[in-house]
């Protein structure tokens, strides 16, 4: 439905997007997730036609749209900060695109659609208000209505929820997903907010410094990240990372403390991919448990502090000078400096090559 092929764009010295290729299916919500400056807004604007790529092509519904301006691509765009027209009231804002000559929609149909969508988004009571008087949540809904009312074949959203309070964000995420189900729209959404991405997306693309690392469903990204960047960005709280080196058959921490003993099959796998000896071990917080457990790898550290998150607590432990965190729902009675045991299974480890970041195990 939307295809970006080998798209690159630089601004002066900065390479915003490098050789990016991605494909979005009809009716899916595709989210591009990455920190600020990763290139996601640039990628979105290239898909929209607001930015011309230095190289590469943009295909919409299999047609090459690279040279075609945004107005002719049958897309809608919600900007970060919403960009409503403050000279118009809410009704006119939503109806704005429909009134363009390119759309060929008559006034009766426009009225019908505006009312239908504003009802969906619970803003029907705001239709004759000036847009400057709306709250954050209301503005966002108007922006959404304005985009969706066009029934465009592709909807592009640039961080639509980022300006909102946490609670509002959580509520609107659910509404967002419901709307999508009802209208079967194709949505291309970019954000740096992990929670929004994971709860809303059908598939997520992890982007960092202009490079797309992996595209997959949220679950698959969590289970099988192919790069340390992916593992870091898709997990919240972010995974534990320990620097280690390979000696004989073990992975050592601080060059002397053995962390894991590797089976021969694993060793073979490592050796077949790289001759290097420096690695990073990734460990999800939920895979680290408190206390000792038979059959798992058991270690000791000192408690730094406990973060109470409500249902879960995140325990910060100092392990040989490195921070390790784990999640538990147990009550912690320890205090700063107390020794604390933790364990994890060797099978839960992700092993990343330190220099390239690629995942080995």
């Amino acid at each position: 439905m939307l295809q970006l092929k080998n798209v690159s764009k630089s601004f002066g010295d900065v390479q915003a997007v490098s050789n990016l290729s991605l494909e979005i299916q009809e009716r899916e919500i595709f989210v591009l997730l990455g920190p600020t400056g990763a290139g996601k807004t640039t990628a979105l604007k290239i898909a929209a036609g607001l930015i011309k790529p230095d190289s590469g092509q943009v295909f919409i519904s299999a047609k090459d749209m690279t040279a075609i301006p945004p107005a002719f691509r049958d897309i809608s765009f919600v900007f970060e900060g919403y960009n409503l027209f403050h000279i118009y009231n809410v009704y006119d804002n939503i109806a704005f695109a429909l009134r363009s000559k390119l759309m060929q929609v008559d006034e009766a149909e426009i009225d019908k659609r505006v009312h239908a969508f504003s009802e969906e988004l619970h803003i029907e009571h705001l239709l004759d208000r000036p847009t400057g008087t709306l709250s954050g949540g209301e503005t966002q809904r108007v922006a959404l209505a304005r985009a969706l009312v066009r029934k465009a074949r592709l909807n592009l959203f640039d961080e639509p929820l980022s300006n909102l309070d946490l609670k509002l964000r959580e509520e609107l995420r659910v509404e967002f997903k419901e709307l999508h189900k009802k209208y079967h729209s194709t949505i291309f959404y970019v954000t740096h907010d992990h929670d929004s991405a994971v709860s809303v997306a059908d598939r997520i693309g992890i982007i960092y410094k202009g490079i797309l690392y992996q595209v997959d469903t949220p679950d698959n990204l969590l289970e099988n990240p192919n790069h340390i960047i992916v593992a870091t960005l898709i997990n919240y709280p972010t995974i534990n990372i320990l620097n280690c080196s390979l000696k004989d058959q073990s992975l050592l921490v601080n060059h002397q403390l053995p962390l894991v003993e590797l089976t021969s099959s694993k060793l073979d796998k490592i050796r077949s991919q790289t001759a290097e000896r420096d690695f990073q071990v990734g460990l999800k917080l939920k895979n680290v448990k408190l206390g000792k457990e038979q059959g798992n790898l058991n270690f000791s550290g000192r408690l730094l502090h406990t973060e109470y998150q409500g249902y879960n607590k995140v325990v910060n432990i100092d392990f040989e000078g490195m921070p390790i965190r784990l999640i538990t729902s147990e009550l912690i009675q320890l205090s700063y400096g107390d020794p604390v045991d933790f364990n994890f299974s060797a099978n839960d480890i992700f092993l990343f090559n330190k220099s390239s970041g690629m995942r080995i195990l």
Partner: protein, 360 residues
């Protein structure tokens, strides 16, 4: 090193009551977080404590001193702003040492303190850099360093993390805690992000519409919120609130008529309440989805719409009437559409009256 006391603190902007008669005591060395949605008055309160806003009514005390009329410069406070507020023309070490210079501290002392503070925050190697060259996270660290370098009595932070990326936010949260423990300084922190509040606070002050809704430590506010608003605001996802009606027959109906079954103790309690209509609050984490009842005494019938994964916990969404609620499910997307029961534990349910207070 100071106790803060707010006595009937009020701030009006024309007709708008931004802060409405707030009473609060903050203990020495406490880490207090003002939590609430945009416009609830938390930032205004902070600015009144700082002296950046003139108080319309009420008093602010630092220890025994009434500070209403004191300029910010005279209150021995330090502040970290949302947008860092660093002096653009000065290098990092001059930014940090500035407050000391204003105090006329001798240069050697200043050097020492700047070094101390920058080591504490891990920014020693940035001292000679220009502010404009630094990434956001480091800018905030410099702002923090500048704030603590002269060991203020009170440290005030105004949504310091909202402009930062998720990655930096996590790092900085730990820095804040570390700093506060190391310095033993009374800290007031403002945010709308309840996760931050939960992680950092000794005491959370929940605010809405210019008033204090509730105060308490994170655990208490999570497990037993005294107010509907608190239960809704704290926790991700927030608490489920069901309207419950005591029917003439003695049965108890939820929202649109689903009967809820209670264990005997709770049933008696529910029946014994003064009002016939009240609100039941229960957190999604304490509401479990089961397809068949196997001996539980607290349950009601639901149909799952879909399953949502939040922080690697599976929540099932379901409707009662036209409101959406969440519960825990033990599986994944395959549970979407299934019918069954929402089961809950005796101790985890809370009763509220419709006006928003709490009864139990």
């Amino acid at each position: 090193m100071a106790q803060i006391r707010l006595e009937n603190l009020t701030k009006h902007y024309g007709k708008v009551k931004a802060v409405d008669e707030i009473n609060l005591e903050i203990k020495d060395n406490e880490f207090v977080v003002f939590l609430g949605p945009s416009g609830c008055g938390k930032t205004t309160t902070l600015r009144c404590v700082a002296g950046l806003e003139a108080v319309t009514g009420g008093n602010i005390y630092f220890g025994d001193r009434r500070v209403n009329d004191l300029e910010p410069a005279d209150r021995n406070i330090a502040m970290v702003f949302q947008h860092y507020a660093l002096y653009p023309h000065l290098k990092v070490h001059r930014n940090i040492s500035f407050p000391l210079k204003a105090e006329k501290m001798p240069p050697s002392e200043r050097e020492r303190k700047v070094k101390e503070v920058s080591e504490l925050l891990g920014i020693e190697n940035l001292l000679n850099r220009r502010i404009s060259e630094l990434p956001d996270g480091d800018k905030q660290k410099v702002a923090l360093a500048r704030a603590i370098v002269r060991t203020p009595e009170v440290l005030l932070l105004d949504e310091p993390l909202s402009a930062l990326d998720e990655v930096f936010r996590e790092q900085m949260r730990i820095e804040f805690l570390k700093i506060q423990k190391a310095l033993q300084v009374t800290t007031v922190y403002v945010t709308h992000d309840q996760r931050e509040a939960m992680m950092l606070a000794d005491k959370i002050v929940v605010m809405n519409d210019g008033k204090i809704v509730e105060t308490g430590n994170p655990q208490k506010l999570y497990e037993m919120p005294q107010n509907l608003f608190t239960g809704y605001f704290i926790g991700s996802p927030g608490m489920n609130f069901f309207n419950c009606r005591r029917k003439g027959s003695g049965a108890l109906a939820l929202d649109d008529g689903e009967t809820v079954s209670f264990s005997e103790t709770y049933r008696q309690k529910a029946l014994g309440l003064a009002t016939a209509e009240f609100v039941i609050g229960i957190r999604p984490e304490y509401l479990f989805f089961k397809q068949k009842i196997e001996g539980e005494s607290n349950y009601f019938k639901i149909k799952l719409v879909n399953v949502e994964r939040i922080h690697e916990i599976n929540y099932g969404n379901f409707y009662l009437g036209d409101r959406l609620y969440k519960c825990l499910v033990s599986g994944g997307a395959e549970f979407g559409g299934r019918e069954g029961f929402a089961v809950f534990n005796d101790q985890k349910i809370l009763f509220y009256d419709l006006a928003g207070g709490k009864i139990l």
